[in-house]
């Protein structure tokens, strides 16, 4: 205690940056002749990870509060499908509102059950994941629903503002607002306190139940936005959207330095974790590995990263 070594949590928070640099250097060397470092490829990585990064922002709120959300992938698909269906019958802004509202509604149902029926979020969101995915399939009839509103596609998909892709603008916006709220407001402080020691939060006058509800609504809102970004980029909505994001986003957030057990979280870390996961997919594809091997290697790297960043030496 008298020696001023940096806090263990601080050191662990830095690991994601080291991992990011290592993986980047590895691919830069291995794939120097296959265009990994080209501006186009690097831009691609950023664009492809945009929805996952938005989801990661929401998940930091949830994990830091000591809860978990397994349903956000399904909520992405349902939000995109609802938005696309609404846009077919009316103007696009209504579709956007419907998409966001869908994501938030899923989050609200999750949160209400967790906070007021007092069931563990793991089980609640595991169940709603199935329900929501089923509704997405039923609504869309397993078909892809095209999105044709040009303005919508410009704003949420391929458009640019002052040369910056709109996907990047949305992602940066989500990151900045998320970081500000999480780090600099009482709400953020109360999330951390609740995830850390719910009893302490309660006797300090923090409304723990309401807070638990709110973080799941935040996650649902992020799922809604991610669904709109997918629909804009792909110009279609499909029940498979967001399916593969579940593991990737959870891994990105944890590797980034957010505690699965609550009480600790970082949004910059989640961004780097998300970019790292995107870079990993991209590099493994460029190396010509089959999907099976990509899955195996990604899984192992996540395991290694989590082991290094989360292992408690006192346990």
């Amino acid at each position: 205690m008298s020696i001023s070594l940096p806090n263990r949590a601080v050191l662990q928070g830095l690991i994601v940056y080291a991992g990011f640099v290592l993986i980047f250097l590895f691919f830069a060397v291995m794939l120097w002749d296959r265009g990994f470092l080209s501006a186009q490829n690097l831009t691609n990585i950023v664009l492809q990870t945009a929805p996952a990064t938005v989801l990661a922002v929401g998940l930091v709120f949830v994990l830091a509060a000591g809860e978990i959300d397994l349903s956000f992938g399904a909520a992405v698909a349902l939000s995109a499908i609802v938005a696309a269906m609404v846009m077919r019958v009316t103007v696009w802004p209504v579709g956007v509102a419907a998409g966001l509202a869908t994501g938030m509604a899923v989050g609200f149902v999750n949160g209400a059950i967790v906070a007021y029926v007092r069931l563990p979020s793991f089980l609640v969101t595991l169940a709603t994941m199935g329900v929501v995915a089923g509704i997405a399939r039923e609504l869309s009839n397993l078909q892809s629903i095209p999105v044709t509103a040009d303005t919508f596609i410009g704003i949420f998909g391929g458009g640019k503002l002052l040369g910056i892709p709109s996907l990047v603008i949305w992602t940066v916006l989500a990151l900045l607002i998320g970081h500000l709220v999480f780090r600099e407001t009482r709400y953020g402080a109360h999330i951390l306190a609740t995830g850390d020691n719910p009893r302490a939060a309660l006797v300090s006058g923090i409304r723990v139940a309401r807070l638990r509800l709110s973080v799941l609504v935040v996650s649902g809102a992020c799922a809604g936005l991610a669904g709109l970004l997918y629909a804009g980029r792909l110009q279609a909505a499909r029940y498979t959207l967001g399916e593969s994001d579940l593991m990737t986003v959870i891994a990105a957030v944890i590797v980034g330095g957010t505690a699965l057990s609550g009480g600790r979280g970082t949004i910059p870390g989640a961004l780097v974790g998300s970019l790292m996961m995107g870079m990993l997919s991209n590099g493994l594809i460029l190396m010509g590995l089959s999907v099976s091997w990509q899955m195996i290697i990604k899984g192992l790297i996540v395991l290694a990263a989590v082991a290094v960043s989360l292992r408690d030496p006192n346990r």
């Binding site: 008298s2 949590a9 600099e184 402080a189 302490a200 939060a201 006058g205 923090i206």
Partner: protein, 253 residues
């Protein structure tokens, strides 16, 4: 002789009058009466299950008495929940301390009552750190810094943080539930020294302790509970351990 300045016709900070609490058919506390004055330390002693925690929980607003009156500064005190009791100036140092271990000392001191600044209502960390530094210095709680993380502190330092938090917010009275049960000799001495400085701040202090040595070192009066019954109140300077022990156990000396 009174333990508070003679001739000072002060209203007691806290008055408990004929307090009774029952849970269903079980009476946890029956007919308990006590006045606590500013600048006074009253110790509550009794065996396990005597009702000490129940009494603390009624004063802090967690439980409502079944019957009887509670007065704070002479005003009726009916607390619908603990946050109202806190607003009225009653703070509790819980046995488990109620600290968020992965957060900083200053965030714990302001937990649930963080100051904000500007139109965006952002956390005023500068103010929290400054006030923490001042308080820690005044109470002589020795911690590395206001920005240290709780889990990096020793048991005594954590206890110091919990007491500092209560002191910062308490306007009237601090309830301490076994403040040194988990501490070593040196750390206990430090925490006792901290409690002494609270007296000087003119707070009323109500302390539960199993250590009679500690009770005799710290308190002005001792109140004994046995199986929910108030056995008696003694001036600490007018009694001895034998009397208190026989009051606690019910075995005459």
């Amino acid at each position: 002789m009174a333990p508070y300045p003679e001739g000072h016709a002060m209203t007691p900070v806290l008055q408990l009058k004929n307090i009774r609490k029952s849970f269903g058919g079980v009476t946890a506390i029956q007919d308990f009466s006590l006045d606590i004055h500013a600048g006074e330390v009253v110790a509550l002693v009794g065996d396990n299950g005597a009702g000490k925690s129940t009494l603390i929980k009624m004063i802090s607003g967690v439980y409502t008495p079944t019957s009887g009156d509670m007065l704070l500064d002479g005003q009726p005190a009916d607390f619908p929940d603990a946050s109202v009791a806190r607003e009225r100036g009653i703070e509790v140092v819980y046995q488990d301390l109620a600290l968020a271990d992965q957060q900083t000392v200053y965030m714990n001191l302001f937990l649930g009552r963080e100051p904000v600044k500007g139109p965006l209502r952002l956390l005023d960390r500068k103010r929290m750190i400054a006030e923490t530094d001042t308080l820690v210095k005044e109470l002589d709680v020795r911690i590395p810094s206001a920005s240290a993380t709780i889990r990096d502190l020793s048991g005594g330092q954590r206890q110091g943080v919990a007491i500092a938090r209560a002191t910062h917010w308490a306007k009237k009275i601090i309830l301490l539930d076994e403040p040194t049960a988990a501490l070593g000799v040196a750390e206990t001495a430090r925490v006792e020294a901290t409690i002494e400085t609270l007296k000087a701040r003119n707070l009323a202090i109500f302390i539960i302790s199993h250590s009679l040595d500690q009770v005799f070192r710290l308190s002005d009066r001792i109140c004994v509970l046995r199986r929910g019954q108030q056995i008696g109140i003694r001036e600490t300077s007018q009694t001895d351990k034998n009397e208190i022990v026989s009051m606690i156990t019910g075995v005459s000396k």
